[in-house]
Subunit: 271 residues, 2 copies
Amino acid sequence: MSFIQNLQAAWASNNSLLCVGLDPDLAKFPAHLREDPDAIYQFCTAIVDATADLVCAFKPQIAYFAGESAEAQLEALIDYIHLNYPHVPVILDAKRGDIGATAAQYAREAFERYQADALTVNPYMGFDSIEPYLAYPDCGLIVLCRTSNPGGSDLQNLQVDGGKKLYQHVAQVVAEKWNPHGQAALVVGATFPQELADVRSLVGDMPLLVPGIGAQGGDVQATVNAGKTAIGMGLMINSSRAILYTGKGEDFAQAARKAALSTRDEINRYR
Amino acid sequence: MSFIQNLQAAWASNNSLLCVGLDPDLAKFPAHLREDPDAIYQFCTAIVDATADLVCAFKPQIAYFAGESAEAQLEALIDYIHLNYPHVPVILDAKRGDIGATAAQYAREAFERYQADALTVNPYMGFDSIEPYLAYPDCGLIVLCRTSNPGGSDLQNLQVDGGKKLYQHVAQVVAEKWNPHGQAALVVGATFPQELADVRSLVGDMPLLVPGIGAQGGDVQATVNAGKTAIGMGLMINSSRAILYTGKGEDFAQAARKAALSTRDEINRYR
């Protein structure tokens, strides 16, 4: 089953457009876990167990693992999700972008070593930096388009040839040229709903990964209205910190479940 | 000593603008090394020993290590270079680009875990994706500007606000706003010498990391003429495959030395 099919099945079976981002920051972990040598794995699998029936995807952010030399825990975490929750796809958030020969190595890392179902990538280096991932047509390729951070406007909002903005150009190029096998999706932040609506109008039913609600302040109602497809699908609305670190004690996973449930339900009210 | 000072010292002491890229591709290794469990470390340290007096920097490409689960060998390799050749700076080529909290993790990975002297980064997400690296003012921050690959033109050559091209805008923004501690450099490919000259005219004496000679076909004379500063410095001209894989047998390191020597000397003829 391809990433896109898996995602569609998870949207339906879990009745959810919520993606939980797994950004394991040791400094924010409950105290009882911090001394555990496998703390990252313990923390993340507890979050996964508590939320797997409420999400359409999990999104581990590789930087948090790499900063802690925890590649083995990332491998074990993704194995754990596939084994226990095979209906929930895993997006490796790594924002890779490099020339063809190097991109082929990053594709091996993401799809063979880590067995991720999808990978985030950066479009700045152009089509041949994307092409090696197309050799894995069942895997999702989620291209940065309009990001939710304050600096996202610095380049992405520049006017380019023909009066479009750079992020609109990226959305069009991905939809029209970089997606021969239908495996592409885009990252579009929740902090600018009008831009999310722009992108939706340019790319048909292509899935959009939407960071920026929760800790980053994006409005759920405006996000869902701007980004959903005609049938109320098409979104992976990511929340990381606001789910992971709601609870500070031994009940952190139950607290995360509560936060995930209320976020999922809030999203569903506006679909 | 900062990355930039270290680089300037290496330019002078080794009389070299050559950067050797360490892209360890097992399929291209000499047969006698392939079965060694530490093949990547053995191969790269042999190349380092054979060329350390001929280069201004070494540039390991992290994708080749990550694809082989060889993070420990990358750590050991960088340790080895620092211990044996402390005058030669190490650039970790990882092209990172993410929001601030995540970029802070990538900075820890590059500068604390791997002890790299400099890191390549992607500008697409704007200033706050760059800012966390500024907390390490002695480390170099090498921002993608105009890349040497065929798709490099797809976005980087778009006309943006005011008639500039996107890569020219990036060069200006980095020079004027993103470099408060003087730690920035830019990646500008050798395949378009006129664009290299453009960037040089925009950024003063800022160091430029220049891939694209050798296997990618860039012309050495045109590259040096277009990119050098007034005093014949300012460049880290990278060659990877054309140095690493010249020899196919047990004498691969001597063959690499020969290729590095002739490339360094060819560069020096045009300074």
